[in-house]
């Protein structure tokens, strides 16, 4: 950090010098000179200290050894000013005689000695990300390293973000960001799209101690992420330290075990590096839910029962090896990810239907290649390439015949029946997915830079159903080929102002099959091939009104191509929709961030932003109360108006308080709806125009409080006590406004409280954390009454070398 401060310091000093009026160097012999050395009070040489001889309007900066020299000075009385960031400015009166070489050695006093707290001038990576012109929130997970959280829980505390879970560990997650949901928001792991990692590497499988920080881009996504995400993007940056070992194990309610082993070794001499990551997650997810109990056809009772068929297991091994900091590459890494999971399926999209035999599993092997080099061939040309080839095999198994379960786990047998629990199937998907991402950035001058990105994704699926080997739709090839080209120009006219102009070109080619003329004599299934290309563009700009007051605005006309699961389905609850088209939208974000101090100890940070979004053919997951199955469809016209804000307060480094609030009004703006049935078919009036979209929370917020104590009880110990509160306002499961309020299906207002105590000993070498989630045992749901776990306890041990 000290080094970093020095670099910034020298940069600032140089700038200060440029402003000085230079006089021509005089070569006369009787000129005097000043030399000297600048150091800290402890004797450490200071580099980049600005040295100015006021009256002569001359100046310089100290070199690496802290030395400075000013020559060719006219004899006389001068004031010598020595200034450096983080130190008190020193002022010396000197008197120079002809031909004198005066030596002045100065010790600068550190400013922080006079302050009660330490003021860090250098910007952390987290803060640098936050100051990009995009609407972005970066969350540093440093304070959370010992916590039992995973990536999903950290994200859920960001304003504008809701992570919707269908249940416990390993359950399907969906993510909404300012009303954009599911796959409108793209996930990246170290800048690489996560889509191709397959279902066995999910957000909830990534423990917090493998993460360095998480960046959440709301709305406009930078070109270098190269994606057709239109709602935004989440980039999870993993720990890239050269040498470390981090092992953790957590155990918790519902027989949950999570093991994470993480490490890196780099040979400083030859740059050979090896990094590895092993995760294992297990949970029975047998938490209690309040459900109707059926006996025959009557619902006899509504009671609390344990989930009985919801076990989840996943394991991931990620290895990477190669060279870093070589002449030919900053990073040249070959890797492989191997992961697998299996999951019992308890319910579909609603809890009305319960299953006791359905299982799905998946195994993936992903070879990867990562290459990056700054100043590649040319000074200022930075390139990076990432490629991954994902081979995934997954199975969907529903092979019980004539068996139905109720919530008590009791099976009812219907002799002679061949019906499956949902739809008898033993489907195997063989997915092959190639992803490649090439980035090139070129710095023309400090003011102008260019970025280019090319992203290619090719997905191919083969499907076989052993229970219905002749299924016609499985005979057709399914593939999805997406390419995105992006070009951005960044203009930084002043230190305070930065603007990026960008354009993106999208290409999509899909092969699938479709049923035509349902229930007519001409009914048939035929191959369907579609090609689409679209063009998008945008602008993002930021301006610092004050050093700590940043304004941001961005606009983008963008497109999103549907992706594999949305078009092809998942073989179980998500039905295919071959007609699903791309979505276009105009996104506008404007926001401000302000940080200020009251006195020396009170630090405040405020952020607020406004969102306007106008989407055509919004890709939307249709969930009905009545059925466990869902599908994706296009909504012709929607509009989002939203506002969000967050507030953070810190007292020294002991107390942290924070909160954020999101309000988003997502309304249907279509004038007409299309009736596809054979009666009354065609366009009809949309009676729900202007109504809020169903099943999406519109008002939510959260708050947190944290206390840190150092060296209490034991020396070299750090204790953290964190409290998290989450609030979601009641929302409707159907379109708002029609029907009487008391008969409408709602997800009621929810409040949940989490409490966590963590401690680190021996300077963070040994750590433990204990957490209670859902302290009040409240009924929590996301999506259609899919109940989430009640009160649960987790204990985590972590060892860091």
């Amino acid at each position: 950090m000290q080094q970093f401060i020095k670099v910034i310091g020298s940069f600032v000093s140089m700038l200060a010098l440029m402003c000085l009026d230079y006089t021509a160097w005089a070569q006369e012999a009787d000129r005097a000179s000043v030399v000297g050395k600048v150091q800290t009070a402890s004797g450490e040489a200071l580099t980049g200290v600005s040295v100015v001889l006021q009256e002569a309007k001359r100046g310089t900066v100290t070199d690496a050894a802290g030395h400075f020299e000013l020559t060719g000075l006219t004899p006389g009385d001068y004031t010598l000013l020595l200034s450096f960031i983080g130190f008190e400015t020193e002022q010396r009166s000197i008197s120079l005689k002809a031909s004198q070489k005066l030596e002045v050695n100065v010790s600068l006093r550190e400013k922080s000695f006079e302050m009660k707290g330490v003021e860090i001038i250098g910007k952390s990576a987290t803060r640098e990300v936050n100051e990009q012109p995009y609407a972005v929130t970066a969350i540093s997970t440093r304070e959370l390293q010992n916590s039992t959280s995973d990536a999903k829980e950290v994200l859920n505390r960001v304003s504008g973000v809701r992570v919707m879970e269908e249940g416990g560990l390993g359950s399907n997650l969906s993510f909404t960001l300012n009303g954009f949901s599911g796959d409108q928001v793209k996930f990246f792991l170290d800048g690489i799209p996560m889509d191709n990692f397959g279902s066995s590497l999910q957000m909830s499988d990534i423990p917090v101690n493998t993460i360095d920080r998480i960046e959440v881009y709301k709305g406009v996504v930078p070109v270098w992420l190269g994606t057709d995400a239109l709602g935004g993007a989440v980039n999870i940056i993993t720990n890239r330290k050269a040498n470390f070992l981090d092992a953790s194990y957590s155990i918790g309610s519902f027989n949950t075990h999570r093991l994470s082993l993480n490490g890196a070794y780099t040979n400083p001499a030859n740059g050979y590096t090896f990094r590895g990551n092993v995760n294992y997650n297990y949970s029975d997810n047998n938490y209690r839910v309040l459900v109707p109990i059926k006996e025959g056809s009557n619902i006899i009772d509504t009671t609390e029962v344990e989930r009985f068929h919801d076990r989840y297991r996943s394991a991931t091994v990620k290895l990477e090896t190669g060279w870093v900091n070589k002449k030919y590459a900053d990073n040249l890494l070959f890797g492989v990810i191997a992961s697998g999971n299996d999951k019992q399926v308890q319910t579909g999209a609603t809890m009305n239907s319960v299953y006791g035999g359905i299982i799905r599993n998946s195994q993936s092997v992903v070879p990867t290649l990562r290459y990056s080099k700054d100043n590649f061939l040319l000074e200022g040309l930075n390139v990076s390439l990432y490629s991954a080839y994902n081979i995934t095999k997954s199975e969907v198994i529903d092979t019980l015949r004539g068996v139905t379960y109720n919530w008590l786990g009791e099976a009812t047998y219907t002799p002679g029946s061949n019906n499956g629990e949902l739809r008898r199937t033993y489907t195997t998907f063989d997915d092959n997915d190639f992803n490649s991402q090439l980035n090139a950035g070129y710095v023309l001058s400090p003011m102008h830079s260019l970025a280019f990105n090319y992203a290619l994704s090719f997905f191919r699926r083969e499907t076989f159903d052993a229970e219905n080997p002749d299924r016609i739709e499985n005979q057709f090839p399914r593939s999805l080929n997406k390419q995105v080209l992006g070009l951005a120009y960044k203009f930084d006219p002043t230190e305070r102002w930065s603007t990026t102009l960008f354009s993106k070109f999208y290409l999509l080619h899909a092969k699938t099959s479709k049923e035509y003329d349902f229930a007519l004599e001409t009914q048939r299934i035929e191959a369907l091939e579609t090609s689409k290309n679209n063009f998008g563009y945008g602008l993002a700009t930021t301006y610092f009104l004050l050093p700590d007051l940043q304004l941001k605005a961005s606009y983008e006309r963008t497109n999103r191509m549907p992706w594999a699961t949305e078009v092809f389905g998942d073989g179980l609850f998500i039905l295919p929709n071959p007609d699903l088209g791309p979505e276009q939208s105009n996104n506008f974000n404007a926001g401000a961030a302000y940080g200020f101090k009251l006195g020396n100890d009170h630090q405040f940070n405020l952020e607020s932003s406004f969102i306007y979004r106008d989407a055509e053919d919004l890709i939307y997951q249709v969930v009905r109360v009545a059925t466990p199955e869902t599908y994706y469809d296009n909504l012709s016209q929607t509009r989002t108006l939203g506002v969000e804000g967050s507030l953070k307060y810190q007292w020294r480094d002991m107390l942290r308080l924070g909160g954020n609030f999101t309000f988003q009004d997502i309304t249907d703006q279509a004038d007409v709806i299309y009736n596809e049935s054979y009666t009354n078919s065609g366009y009809q009036r949309n009676f729900q125009k202007g109504f809020r979209l169903p099943n999406i929370p519109y008002m939510f917020g959260n708050a947190n409080a944290g206390l840190t104590f150092r060296n209490v009880v034991l020396p070299e110990s750090v204790w953290n006590l964190n409290y998290y509160y989450n609030y979601v306002e009641q929302y409707f499961l159907s379109w708002a406004e029609l029907g009487s309020r008391d008969t409408k299906k709602v997800i009621p207002t929810q409040s949940s409280h989490n409490l966590e105590l963590s401690a680190g000993f021996r300077e963070g070498k040994y750590n433990f954390a204990i957490e209670c989630r859902n302290l009040t045992d409240a009924m929590l749901y996301d999506k259609y009454y899919l109940q989430k776990p009640g009160r649960a306890f987790y204990l985590k041990f972590r060892y860091v070398l």
Binding site: P292, K294, G296, S297, N298, I299, T404, S417, N419, A519, L520, E521, Q523, A592, Y594, L598, G599, F604, L606, S608, Y620, V622, R624, A626, T627, E629, D633, L635, Q637, L641, V643, E644, G645, L647, F661, F663, D668, I673, Y674, N675, E676, S677, Y678, T679, N680, Q684, R685, F687, Q688, M699, S734, W735, E737, L738, G739, S740, R741, T743, K744, K745
Partner: protein
């Protein structure tokens, strides 16, 4: 502690917070009109969302003859697919397609709608019919299942008191029988069906009428009766293949119409009769509908009284009908005894909804919702003068039920 300098620092955060609050306050739109206590009409409005799904709102109205009928802020909400049938003073909403619940909707003493019942079935119910004052019989019959199930339901509590299962193979070995009508008369339950391929929906067997007869209340299978004078009874999802008069005579309608689910027509349409207490077709009775209408067929029937029934008559010949279209239709009153068809004046030719006819009888009037141009309007039919009067506009994509409680 908070000096003037500090106050100015706070100005910006306070402003941004205020703007956030302003936004939220715009949101508080609260209007929840209280239902009229003397609203005796109940209309089930089906509203399609932009996502293609339907939501049903069963809303009470006092007047259906003026203004517009909207579900804004009122009515019982049911998302999914629902079929509404009124039996005595209760409307039964039957979940179809995926939802498989049955809910009874009736009025409280204060005139508000209430929901009764909590039953759920693995396959959707084809229909519910009245057995006696306290019992209903529900039929569960799906092309995907090899069983036919009769559920006896307590009409007050809407709970299943017993279930009787029979093999589908009792009534046919063809794939697969599709429900078209059910009625209970005396000691018999009559069940009409037609054969429709579960995958292609083709109907290769259209030469004769078939009705399965079960005993009642025992619900034991007795026999299948057949008649060659006309084709299969009923059609897709109209649920009006069988009607019953005051005497207990059962009338069976055949139309073999492509507009209502047939891929071919091989026998002329007409109405057969089973006399009360009998388990054979009355060979002395045949209402040759096509002869009276000049080749047109009847798609929907609703029994009114004194041998008269409300009929939705196709305005084109079978050969001209678009498959599944359930229309175009003209409304008529038919006399089952004199075998006449009288069209209603003042009611336009209209499209059908491909489902149970939504109409309610109130004395000499019948109220129906008719799609017309861009809107849907209530029409009041005077069954004595055979004329119709146009009423309120309905703010819905279609009307799924119209009742009077």
């Amino acid at each position: 502690m908070f000096s003037m300098k500090h106050t100015s620092k706070l100005a910006l955060p306070v402003l941004s917070l205020c703007s956030a609050l302003l936004f939220t306050s715009c949101d508080s739109k609260e209007d929840n009109p209280t239902p009229d206590a003397d609203s005796s009409f109940v209309v089930s409005l089906a509203i399609q969302g932009s996502d293609g799904g339907f939501t049903y709102y069963t809303v009470p109205f006092r007047d259906v003859m003026s203004g517009s009928l909207s579900a804004k802020g009122k009515g019982i909400e049911q998302p999914g697919y629902f079929d509404f049938t009124q039996i005595d003073n209760t409307i039964y909403s039957i979940g179809g397609l995926d939802d498989v619940n049955v809910v009874g909707i009736s009025k409280t003493e204060t005139g508000e709608l209430k929901q009764v019942g909590n039953v759920s079935f693995p396959n959707s119910l084809s229909d519910i019919v009245k057995a006696d004052d306290s019992k209903l019989v529900a039929l569960e019959m799906a092309s995907t299942s090899d069983m036919v199930k009769f559920h006896t339901i307590n009409s007050g509590t809407v709970s299943v008191s017993s279930t009787k299962q029979h093999r589908v193979s009792d009534i046919t070995n063809l794939s697969a029988p599709s429900y078209s009508g059910m009625t209970i008369s005396g000691n018999h339950l009559y069940l009409s069906y037609y054969i429709s391929d579960p995958n292609t929906f083709a109907t290769p067997h259209t030469d004769k009428a078939q009705i399965a007869v079960y005993s009642y209340p025992g619900l034991e299978f007795q026999k299948v009766i057949e008649d060659n004078r006309t084709g299969p009874i009923g059609g897709f999802n109209t649920k009006s293949g069988l009607i019953k008069d005051e005497r207990g005579d059962v009338y069976a309608l055949s139309h073999s119409n492509p507009a209502n689910g047939y891929s071919q027509t091989t026998n002329k349409g007409g109405i057969l009769r089973i006399k009360s207490g009998e388990t054979i077709f009355d060979q002395s009775y045949f209402f040759d509908v096509e002869q009276v209408t000049g080749g047109k067929n009847i798609a929907h029937l609703k029994y009114l009284g004194n041998g008269k029934a409300l009929a939705e008559v196709n305005s084109a010949d079978n050969s001209q009908q678009a498959r599944w279209s359930d229309g175009p239709l003209r409304t008529a009153i038919i006399d089952l005894n004199s075998k006449t068809v009288t069209y209603i004046n003042g009611l336009p030719e209209h499209a059908g909804n491909g489902r149970r006819l939504a109409a309610v009888q109130d004395g000499k009037y019948v109220y129906m919702a008719i799609p017309e141009g861009d809107g849907i309007f209530v029409y009041r039919i005077d069954t004595e003068t055979n004329t119709a009067t146009k009423g309120a506009e309905v703010e819905a994509n279609f009307v799924a039920g119209i009742s009077k409680l």
